[in-house]
Structures are given as structure tokens and as C-alpha cells.
Symmetry: C2
Subunit: 198 residues, 2 copies
Amino acid sequence: MEPTSETPSLRERTRRAVHAEITDTALRLFAEQGFEATTVEQIATAAGISRRSFFHYFRSKEDVVLGDLEALGRRVRDALEARPESESAWDALREALKTLHAPGSGAVTALEIADMYADAPSLRAKHLEKHLRWQELFAPDIERRLGIAPGTTADPRARAVIAAALACLDTAVEAWRESGGTADPVDLFDAAVAAVRG
Amino acid sequence: MEPTSETPSLRERTRRAVHAEITDTALRLFAEQGFEATTVEQIATAAGISRRSFFHYFRSKEDVVLGDLEALGRRVRDALEARPESESAWDALREALKTLHAPGSGAVTALEIADMYADAPSLRAKHLEKHLRWQELFAPDIERRLGIAPGTTADPRARAVIAAALACLDTAVEAWRESGGTADPVDLFDAAVAAVRG
DNA sequence: GCGAATGCTTGCACCGAGTGCAACAGTCTG
DNA sequence: CAGACTGTTGCACTCGGTGCAAGCATTCGC
């Protein structure tokens, strides 16, 4: 066992460093020549590791861009569960999703990331795939807010509401990208949600 | 040029026959051993053609299952545009999407297809990808119903509503699959839509 | 501090999806 | 029948991704 909260042990530190190095290198290459045109071979070489090692750090090329959407999902879920008990499913979801509107540090801008999504179908695909996991992650809370018994068999309602909210998020981001980053993403998101709720 | 509406010419007929043969063979294999466990090699051999020829008929392995979602999308769009002018975006979409609830002929049941989706991420991925095309296909009509000027730059609303409706469809189908095909898909869909609309 | 267990890197061989190309066989037209 | 056209096929290749085993560094127990 390693110390989990102590100094992260040399191994852990180098691991994180390599991870960061790969991420930076890859994102730079993606931004320069496009996601699909960049091979794992190139990334590995540029990052100073072997092709094989790349796959020890990332399960797929897409995962470099996606980052840790798993952890992000948990953060949103926590924000969701922190919303007032009385708040409606939609309101709680909308506010919880706004916590995603974060700084965006790093040399590669959020706009460039959005551009990658725009011309790489496989990237969009894995992104949407992660959203399906979020559905299950948020479902318990949303079921409660909708007044659905937790064990209800095959009830599409909670998942539908969550999927709809995530669709609002994605269309808002896409619209923001199309605006060249000039529009306010939160406004776009709110507009999308309002339109969906009729 | 070939006659487009005449007797479809031998070539065209054999082409269709081979297409159908591949589809049947592939779906049977998928149902038997699973989508991912089935290789294109196997399908081609079982269908009596070469691996290379398979890719002359289908762009990808997934396309065999997806069928012609392009054409299906156009049919839904036509149904959408046929809805009364005065109908709201949501109502029109909901009713138009119900036209998808069709017979389902063929040796492989709709339930088996749904099962394939359930355990093949790449299949889900391409499916969702097609939905993005549908978004653009339905957008003009929905923008009109929402009272948005057609040329409006980067407005997420129409696409958000469409994506939300499609999400309802997908979650309804998924819930139907989980019920083992016992629940009524149309009821599930209506319930999902009602929940999303708050 | 030493040896052993552990973990990371790497090369290698392999698989499966998908593509470009060129040769070949069948069909259709003049 | 000759020539244009179209579909089939094999071949070689690219790329993402995985299993395996050898080698090297680190870490842990004594």
C-alpha cells in the first residue's frame, strides 16, 4: 500500500508528470494538425516515450482529450445532491451543470478543444458515451426529485430528463463554439433549457 | 445512366440481393455471438463474398445494424413537416417520432437489435452520431415552430429541443429493452416526454 | 544495506477495422 | 465481336489497441 495522503512517493509523482507531459504534447499536436491526423506514434515520440507506454497512461487516443470525465461527473453529482431538497429536477440539474463552467487553464484553449470535437467523430462518440454514464450517476437524485420510487423497473423518466439537460449543455457549447467564443455560454445554456422546458 | 424508375436492371437487383444477404447473415451472427465478437471476415465468408467486397456494401460493421438511418431521418422530417402549422415544436416532434414505431419485419427481432446496442459501445456511438445529423435535418422546421429567424447565428434552442426529444426516444427504447419487450414503447416515450417538459 | 516483491517501460507479435490500388471477370452497348 | 463499364477480389498497408515476456528501477521487509 502507498501513502494516499502523504507525499505521493516518487513513483506517483513521476507518473503524474508523465501523464501531464503526454496530455500537453498531445493537445498541442491535435491543435496543430487536427485530432485524426495525429497518430499515437507521433504523440509518444514527441513526449519521449514508447507507443506501448502511451497506452499504459491512456486507454485510447480520445481519452487524452476527454480527460477525467469520470471524476468530473462525480463532481457534478455532488453539486446536484447539494441542491435544496425542494428544488425541481430541472432546476437542480441546470444549476449543478453550471459548475462545469470552470476556469480552463492550460496552453490549449477551450475553444480549440471544442474545435477538435467538431471535426473528430470518434471524439464526439466517446464524449456521448461518457454522458450515458453520467445518466446513471445522476439518476438516483433525479428519481427522488421526480418522486419516483428508487427501485422502479425500467422507468425512462429520470434518464430522459438527465439526457435532455446534457443535450442542452452540448448544444450550448456547440453554439458557443460557432460564435467563435464570443457568446456567453451560460446564457446559451439557460436559453436551451428554457426552450426545452417549453 | 441507368433507368431510375424502370425495372431496376439486373445489376441493381443483384446488388440489392447481396445487400440483403449480407444484412441477414450479419444480424444472425451478431445475435448468436454478439456484435463485437463477430468479425467482418466471418460475415463475408458466411455471406459468400470477400472481406473487401463487404466494405463495398457497408462503410463499417456498424452500418449493417444501423441500416439506412439517413432515409429514416428524412421520413421523420417529412412527417414533422406534415404536422399542423399551429402545433408546438414539442408536440410536432413527439408525434413525428412516433412514426418510427413500425412493424419490424425480419428474422432478427427488434429486441435482439436493442440487445446489440446494449453491449456494443461502437454501435451506440454511431447511432448517436446519426442523431446529430437528424438535428440538422429537423432544425429548420423546429426553428419555425419556435419562432426563431432561420438565419439566426448560433442559436442552440432548436437543436436542444430536437436533441431532448431524441433523448426521450432513446431512453424509452432502452427502458423497453430492460422490460424485456413487455412494456408499451409508445407509453414509455410519452412518459419520458412528459417528464422532460416538466 | 540486501534481497525479494512490485511496478514501469519497452519491444514484439498479433488482431481487427478500414482504405487504395490494380488485375480480372462479368455485363451492357455499339 | 470489340470495347466501355462495373463489380469482385486479393494484396499491401495504416492505424488503434492488446497480450506477453524480458529488463530495469523502486520500494519494502528483514
